[in-house]
Amino acid sequence: MMRILLVGNPNVGKSALFSRITGTHIIASNYPGTTVGFTKGFLKLGEDQVQVIDVPGTYTLEPISKAEEVAVEMLKDGDLVIDVVDATNLERNLNLTLQLLKRQIPVIVALNMWDDTHHRGININVGKLEELLGVPVAPTVAVTGQGIKGLIGRLPEAKVPKTTYSGSDERWARIGDIVKQVQSLSHHHHTWYEHLEDASNDHIGGIFIALLVLSASFWFIRFVGEGIISYIAEPLFEWLWTPLLMKLSLVLDSGGFWHNILIGKLINGQIDYSQSFGLLSTGFYIPLGAVLPYIVSFYLVLGMLEDVGYLPRLAILMDTLMHKLGLHGYAIIPTILGFGCNVPGIMATRILESRKERFIAATLISIGIPCAALQAMIIGLVGQHGGQYVAMVYGSLFVSWLIIGFILNHAVRGFSPEILVEIPPYRLPLLRIIAEKLWLRVHGFIKEALPVVLGTVLVINILYAMGIFNSIANVAAPVLTNLLGLPKETIVALVVGFLRKDVAIGMLAPLALTAKQLVVSATVLAMFFPCAATFVILARELGARDTLKAAGIMIAAALTMGGLQNLIL
């Protein structure tokens, strides 16, 4: 099957174009480095089905980061390249174009962000550009779909032109020549968001805006999350699901094997979603009733921050601090993604250049960054005793993150380069794009997390029935009680934490722990080991040796922090 590659500089709209062309939606965000792996999709071209592949962005064919390596590697197996060019940055983008034209692979240029050229007073003579490059050029607006038909219609015209230049000096001279012939600039007025760009560059203004943005985000996530829980999730469970389950309970004679598996224990003759622990009761309630509302609110806010283009600006403000941890400011982006789910967070560490940075960033995410599912449960359970206890958990995680990063910076060999990154313009995202992206992530959560949660609850019930937890509990008792001050039953939650952390926190609910014990156990659970899905990704990204190292650090850090909390609180 023919393979079409989408190649171009970072943040020019390759992924947005991919979603449009193939109908397979993938994440596109307004910062360079969104895509770190490749995605395949299909397109019907006349009679034939062809494969379309979205590739990470790269500035040149001499890769610097791991994500760029992926891009250049892909080029070897393509049959045709759609070179996606940001029309508002013609010169820099043509550098890659000219490099592509020297490869023996047919090229067609998509002149994307065409809508932005008007706002910015940039006029490009498309016909002339086509003539000078020797390949077809089609203007496109990936977010609205404008020009896509034209692009696809001209795919068969893609060709390998005769391009002769030697060395980069000659290449730049050629580019300068082309730009001079095809582009003219007219005056344009500053838009209000260009003024905002200036304000967030000023560093006092920048800090002020960052504090405002972060606290507003936090408040909004909680407000929307709690709103969905109290006005949608809880009523649905209470008025719809509970009566159904109670009927089922009667059918199952209120007890017995199947009743235990499906519905779990009845508490005073009633279903208690935090204690029953059946597949259909707690197994559904944790992911859909407690966690999903926070997934929705978190990804709604993240999607807006991403598409507005705020994250790279935050990265610059954080740069000095991150250098103390052996990272540079851009590492804040994988970290923020980690607050949603550690898996994409750790994948995104590919945008960092050195091995040392990737190891530190991935380890720190696994230890100190609680995912949205875990956070929702911590807020739900620990928060019952008061906000100060939730703050203690977050504070402990933050301190661990800082200290471990500081130690790793000195202990891990290798180098940590400085930040060098393009800052995209602020953009006002289309509501439809925000909604599509939110749906993509919520759907991903339901599809991937729900089965694992149900499986975990099932395993718990089986292990209970077999009495296995009792024997583990007795073995682990000395560490738990002496070091952490927790009852030995909490081992059950720790064991389950290997699979899913939200369920693990859920298992603390029936144990009647004190507020202090909840703080200790939630912190240890967050830190001691990544969940199974994260562990798999960690092993894939870091390799077996480094993953073992990271795991050792996690366990040591969790026990140290838990022990300290037990002493101090």
């Binding site: 940055n89 610059i316 990154v421 800052i423």
Partner: protein, 92 residues
Amino acid sequence: MAMYPGEQIPLRQMNIGQTGTVIRILGGRGLMLRLEALDIRPGKKVTKISSTFLRGPVTLRVDNTQVAVGFGMANKIIVKIDQFLPGNFAGR
């Protein structure tokens, strides 16, 4: 600290709002290539937009793009000042 037209200084020392032409890049080929990828190379005009406290990154504008470069790198990019704009009165 006012810079005069024609003076050659590291990018880091430029005033905010000042424009200059990149003359050369100190340091190895690796750094040259990384900067060249972002269209920062000898002969390009760059405008400094901001700097960050505590030896943080310096932001500059190259054509239509803003680029943040680390403090150390900003010290290795030597520019020739184009126009005279006294210190903090520099326009944006």
